[in-house]
Symmetry: C2
């Protein structure tokens, strides 16, 4: 009998489920839209039911905010999400009721960060910060081998920004207006320019503005975590002209104030591409099966 691991990358727009072997090689991968818990979770269970008896654990990286405090009555829940059908949804409990398996539980961005940390650019490092810049901006953090956490998980996608010179765009974050997500996520670009980011020419002057905001993110991340590596993923980062612009703007802002690692090693797009999240979930499943006592420690 094969030892298999399950992963659920539970995003706000789609779920990706997969099963891997012990080397984290993906055997099967399916995807379906995020609708209601009843409908979407039925598809999740139908998928994993095929592998009953072989699965050793399931790792979940979920959209949030989520409850990650193990001693909390609502541990394993999606909490105050604006996606109303999922508010106060007991995600881990639902899986536990269906399968007698260790379930690892973290945010979608932490899972992607963990994927890069164990199987991508971050291999051999101890601290990696991962951002996704897509329909929102989210951040995950593995610091000294553990997911960074305190009263909850970080939400660094909403850090504050210095307006780009003469930029009067008010941003579109419903909470904070011109925070990072409100200025740099895909919907912010579309609101600002009236067209989708992926339709903009690489030489469009706007990319310097986008790069400036992402450079501020990298700058604050550098000074606040001093991480060994920062990875920028998500749909917006698929513009190949963007990373070099971010690097240049970041170095100009930093002014050599701290001695960072070599920039091309320090700041990267994901080695695992769109598989960073699912790979992280599978790796967390494997880890939780190996040491089921703690699901938050990732060493």
């Amino acid at each position: 009998m094969k030892m298999l691991f399950g992963g659920i990358e539970a995003g706000g727009t789609k779920f990706v489920c997969g099963v891997s072997d012990e080397q984290l090689q993906i055997i099967e991968r399916v995807s379906f839209p995020t609708t209601t818990p009843a409908e979407t979770m039925a598809q999740v269970l139908t998928f994993f039911d095929q592998y009953q008896g072989q699965l050793q654990g399931i790792g979940v990286g979920s959209f949030g905010p989520i409850d990650i405090k193990e001693n909390s009555a609502t541990y394993g829940y999606i909490t105050s999400t604006p996606k109303l059908p999922w508010q106060q949804y007991d995600f881990v409990g639902t899986l536990k009721a269906a399968y007698d398996l260790p379930i690892a539980w973290t945010t979608d961005v932490n899972a992607a960060c963990y994927g890069e940390y164990v199987a991508g650019h971050g291999q051999g490092l101890e601290s990696v910060i991962y951002y996704t810049i897509g329909t929102g901006v989210g951040g995950g953090a593995v610091v000294q081998g553990e997911f960074l956490a305190g009263f909850s998980h970080p939400e660094m996608g909403h850090m504050l920004m210095q307006p780009y010179p003469d930029d009067d765009f008010a941003g579109n974050c419903p909470f904070h207006g011109n925070c990072l997500e409100g200025l740099a996520a895909g919907p912010a670009i579309e609101k600002r320019l009236g067209v989708k980011a992926q339709t903009l020419a690489p030489k469009e002057p706007f990319w310097k503005i986008e790069a400036d905001y992402l450079a501020q993110c990298v700058y604050n991340t550098t000074l606040m975590y001093a991480p060994e590596q920062i990875i920028l993923g998500g749909g917006v980062m698929k513009q190949p002209q963007l990373l070099p612009l971010v690097k240049a703007a970041f170095l100009k802002k930093l002014q050599g104030y701290v001695a960072i690692p070599a920039i091309d090693e320090y700041l990267k797009t994901p080695a695992l591409g769109d598989n960073a999240g699912l790979t992280g979930c599978l790796a967390l499943a494997k880890k939780s099966a190996d040491s089921p006592v703690s699901s938050t420690s990732v060493l």
Copy 2:
């Protein structure tokens, strides 16, 4: 024979040295200006020589930047400081040459953070962030019981700020202009207003601007670390009107986006006042004497 511990709070303007018992009760405390390594360290050694044979370890919290990488050839050095006589100064090596004792080594702000974590407001918590707002702005971080570190220690005093509405003050950070330190530290206030911060009346409108910048700091700290507690110390925070203004501005910026702990427990001035740094150094000395293998783990 008594078991005693030594602490050195090595600040950029003055050194504070102290000796405590096992309960961290301070037995003797001295202070002298930071001049040259030859002169200042002679005073340090003269002080601790009195306690030779009783000291079990010495904890150092130093101005920086400093080298905290244990496998580095320059571990224990002050590195690229603008205080020229101290550049590339082998602080830990000098102490090791004089005393055959475990030497704990971290930044001055990490030491203050650790003091509050073990003996101040942070007792019983797992993650505490400490800022000092004085002649500069520095930050220290204990996260999940360890000092936060990666390629180096954090330097969050230089995070970027959104300009306060209609504020055209360019800031005075020589590296970044209007970063947090460039806008909110004592010298920035003096440059902006032409008078020292401590001479300003509590009702002076400027305090709202200062509170806004510190609220941005607390906001970014909340979203990036999700800590259990944030402590604001240093000379500027001795203005009693400031903390309530910071709390109000922070809550307005946060817009309830994440569920923080109760604000009066979450955001505080130091319980240990000006002794946070020395107490942290003494606690680190005690810890390094108890488990001399690692000087960076603080659990």
